[in-house]
Chain length 174, copies 2
C-alpha cells in the first residue's frame, strides 16, 4: 500500500519510506518555482545534492530534495539571505540529517547525547540568525506603523473640525 505523501514545509529526510518516485530537473523546477539553471547552480554551490543520478547521469530528485529547494527559495526570496548565508544554514541542515542517520544506528547514550547537543547548538545558531533579522524588520515595522498613526490622527483632526495650524501668518506674502 503506497502511503499518501504527507506534505511538509520543512526539509526532512524521507527516512526509508520507500522509493517514492524520483523527478527530473524540469519537473522539479516547475514544482518549486525555480529555474533549472538555479537548481544546478545551487548544487554547484554545495547547497544540495540530488538524491540520485540515472544511468545517463540525469539528476533525480526525491521529495526531501524538493522540500530543501523550497526552503532555499524561502530563505532567498522571503528572508533575503545570500546564497552563502543560506549555505551556512543548510550546512547545518545537512549535518543534522547525517547525524539523524547515526542517531538511529547507535545505542550508546553518551554518543546520542553528544549528537543531539550538537544538533541543538546548530539550531540555536540558526535561530539567532533568523531572530536578528526578524527583530530588525519588526523595528522598522514599528517605525512605519508610528508614521501611519500620525497620518491618521492628522486626517482625523481634519475631519473633526477646521484645523487651527496657524503658523504661517503671511503665507505667500512677500
Amino acid at each position: 500500500m503506497p502511503d499518501t505523501a504527507s506534505p511538509s514545509t520543512l526539509p526532512r529526510a524521507n527516512v526509508e519510506a520507500g522509493p517514492a518516485r524520483l523527478l527530473r530537473i524540469q519537473e522539479v523546477a516547475a514544482e518549486v518555482g525555480l529555474t533549472t539553471r538555479s537548481i544546478r547552480y545551487y548544487e554547484e554551490m554545495g547547497l544540495l545534492e540530488p538524491a540520485a543520478r540515472s544511468d545517463g547521469d540525469y539528476r533525480l530528485f526525491d521529495p526531501s530534495d524538493l522540500d530543501r529547494l523550497r526552503f532555499i527559495k524561502r530563505l532567498r526570496d522571503d528572508a533575503g539571505f545570500s546564497l552563502s548565508q543560506i549555505g551556512q544554514l543548510l550546512e547545518d541542515e545537512a549535518a543534522r540529517e547525517r547525524n539523524r542517520e547515526r542517531l538511529r544506528t547507535t545505542t550508546d547514550p553518551d554518543e546520542r547525547r553528544a549528537i543531539l547537543t550538537d544538533a541543538l547548538g546548530r539550531v540555536e545558531r540558526q535561530l539567532e540568525t533568523l531572530d536578528a533579522k526578524a527583530e530588525a524588520l519588526n523595528t522598522m515595522l514599528d517605525d512605519v506603523r508610528a508614521r501611519r498613526l500620525r497620518l491618521r490622527s492628522l486626517l482625523d483632526d481634519l475631519d473633526r473640525g477646521p484645523v487651527v495650524t496657524e503658523a504661517s501668518p503671511a503665507s505667500g506674502t512677500r
Copy 2:
C-alpha cells in the same frame, strides 16, 4: 541661538529648522557606515539627493540626508531588500516629503485631505511590503523553534532515563 539637533531614527525633513551644519561625503560615510562610493551610487540610482552642492560642486548633506541613508542601510542589511525595492519604498518617501511641503503651503482642507490620504496609502503599501517579509520570516522562525523543541525533548528523554528505542539485549533487567 543654535538649536541642538534632535536625533531621530526616522527620515524626516529638517523643516526650516535653521542651517544645521552640512557635511561632506566622507564624514557622512563614516557617520552612517557606508562607503562614499555607495552613497554616490545611491544618488545615481535616485535613492536620494544631497541637500546642496558647494560652489565647487561638493555634495553637502544635511541631517535628514543622514537619516535617509541610515534608513537605506537598514533596508539593505537588515531586511535584505534590493536597491530597486528600496527605491520603491523611498520613492514613496520622497513623494511624502514633497507633499509635506505642499501641506504647509495650502490651507484648503480638501487638498490637505487629499494629500494626507495619498500619503496614508503609500505608508499602507510600505507596511504591506514589510509585513509580508516579516510574516515569512516569522513562519520560518516558528519552524526552527519547533525543531528546537523536538531536540530538547529528545535530550530530556535521554537524561531522564534510558530510552526504549529498541530491544537492547545487553543491558537492563532481564
